[in-house]
Structure formats: C-alpha cells, structure tokens
Symmetry: C2
Subunit: 190 residues, 2 copies
C-alpha cells in the first residue's frame, strides 16, 4: 500500500472508531465517510463492507491495548504499571464490547478476526503480570487466564453500573485491592 | 390452589430446573413432563407455555437467593455470612444467566418477570451488606448497586474461566479480598 493510501486508511479507522463510539455501532458507513470528509467510494476501497470496517476498528483497539501493555512493561514500578493498565482497559471496554457484539450479531467470527491480536495480548499480559508478581505487588498464584477473566468480569461490572464514574472507580479499586498478595486473615483460594 | 396442586406445581418446577440446568434451556417441555412422570397436559395446566415455565424457574431461583441472604443475615459472623453468600451466588450464577438469556431471546421482558423478586433481593442485600460493613468485614463506601455489579462481574469472570474450579475459586477470592476494608497502601476509589 502506498504511503498516502496507508494514511487515508489510518484516518478512516480513527474517524470510524470515533463515530461508532459516540453514535453506536448502528451508525452507517455513509456517516463515517461524511465525518472523514471522503466519498463512500473511497471508504469502500479500504473497507468493502461495514463488517470489515468494524472488524478493523476492533483489531485496532486490541493492538493498542497490546502496545499499552508492552509500553507499561518498561516503566519502573511494575505494580503501578499493572494497576494503570487494568483500570484503563476496564474503563475503555464498553465500546470494545459493543464492537464485538455488533460483529457477532452480523455473523462475523470475532474469535477468528481477532486471533492474532489475541495471541499478542496474551504474550503482553504474561510479561506485565509476571513483572508485577515479581515485584510483590500482585498475588503470585494468578495466571494470564485468571487475569483475562478478571478484566472481562470487571468490565461487565462497570457496564452494569452505567454512567457513574465514582461507582466505577469503587468497583475497579475493589478488584485491584483484591489482586494484592493476600493479607493476613485474607480469603485464600482453597 | 389446592394443596396437591401446589405440590404438583412445586415438583414440576424442581424437575424443570434440574432438566434446564443439566440439558440447557433448549430442552423441551415434553422432556420436563417425562422427567416429572406426568403428562404434557398436566404440565401445561400449570405452565401454559415454555416461557412461563422458564420464567417461574428463574423467579424461583431469585427467591431462593433472597431466602439465603435473609437466612445468612441471622448468623453470628456477618463477614463470614457475606463471603458465603457471595461465593454461592457467583458459583450458581451460570444457570441463572442461561435462563435469563433464554427468556430474553424468547422476547420475554426479564425485568418485568423478576421485578418483585428483584426488589426483595435489593432489600435482603442491603441488610446483609450493612451488617458486614457494621462489623468491619467489608469496606464501608460500597452500596447495594456496587455489590450487584460485583456479583454480576464475578459471575461473568467465572463464566469466562469455564469448568476450572480452582481458577474460579482464585477469582472469587480476589474479589472477596478486595471487598475488605482498604489496607494501608491499598488502592482507593478516588
């Protein structure tokens, strides 16, 4: 792809994400093209169907989460890095879920579409979690599948609360405190 | 309703719950009638449609959860009572969700069907949570909506893990530890 075509594609994706986030995934491709200031033909050259566009937006979000996990794996305080990552992913999960739901409803196999970014994410989470556990900030009996389940569950809890930022922070802080090494008298897993 | 009709209804409900739990909510009313050892006509006299039967099973489960919360509100150790309640509800939530999903898919308004038991549950949770907070076992900035969100989220996390009881226990223990009053250096909600 030529450099200007790549730039156009990236710009369309950014605009599409913004439109789907603010107006919901029922927004039309025409709305996306209009918001991007291009004709619908240009949009369809890059994304032949609305499903292809939704899928590209979802994969883009997952890739950004991977990049964020990788980047946070470089910072000095592994526990703080882990907390930052967890809170951000859960805070942004609403739209990601809406995109995945829209794709699933359209008959797109979300698992297939996101397989590679899912693998990249598992690798990035492994590193982020391992560092935080190594520093003693996170209890060391948890694995990546546990962490994924907690990310999914915390996202569902936040969704349940609706637009109440204080309540969302309370619930995220419950999970983050629970991820600390078990205190004396704490609840053990057995 | 005569006493024997009430007994028949209760028995049909118990058998229906067992069948829907083990075979899934796609199991037919004929299967339920057969398992209960009654004719399909008897079943339909009590539950005119499959949706009515599913709804009654769901309401019955919610009522049992309310009864459990009320009963645990009587025991001596409020913190232990709260932990027991949380772990049981999350552990049993898989089927409840399957029932609710089947009803929603059949076009039944789950909210309306379960409105009264939902109110009873809020009242029971208020008491259970208040006692546990009064005893210092649970952080006192949480309200009933936060607790409901955490129950829903923990259930989603457990669902995500699939049939791995050890992982399910680890994830539930993360949330229960996080519900304790914030330790020194813990993550606050603000």
């Amino acid at each position: 792809m030529r450099a200007d075509a790549q730039r156009n594609r990236a710009r369309l994706l950014a605009v599409a994400e913004e439109v789907f986030t603010t107006k919901g995934t029922t927004a039309s491709t025409e709305e996306v093209a209009r918001a991007a200031g291009v004709g619908i033909g240009t949009l369809f050259r890059h994304f032949p169907t609305k499903e292809a566009l939704l899928e590209a937006v979802l994969v883009g979000r997952l890739e950004r989460i991977v990049a964020e996990a990788d980047s946070l794996s470089q910072v000095d305080d592994p526990g703080e890095a882990f907390h930052t990552f967890f809170a951000r992913v859960v805070g942004e999960s609403g739209t990601k879920k809406a995109l995945a739901d829209a794709l699933a409803a359209a008959g797109v196999d979300v698992g297939r579409a996101t397989r590679q970014s899912g693998k990249d994410l598992a690798r990035a989470l492994h590193k982020l979690l391992g560092r935080a556990q190594g520093s003693g900030a996170i209890r060391d009996d948890l694995g990546v599948p546990d962490l994924v389940a907690l990310l999914v569950g915390a996202s569902r809890a936040v969704e349940q609360l609706g637009a109440d930022p204080d309540a969302q922070r309370r619930v995220i802080s419950v999970v983050l405190n629970g991820l600390r090494p078990s205190p004396p008298g704490g609840v053990t897993a057995t």
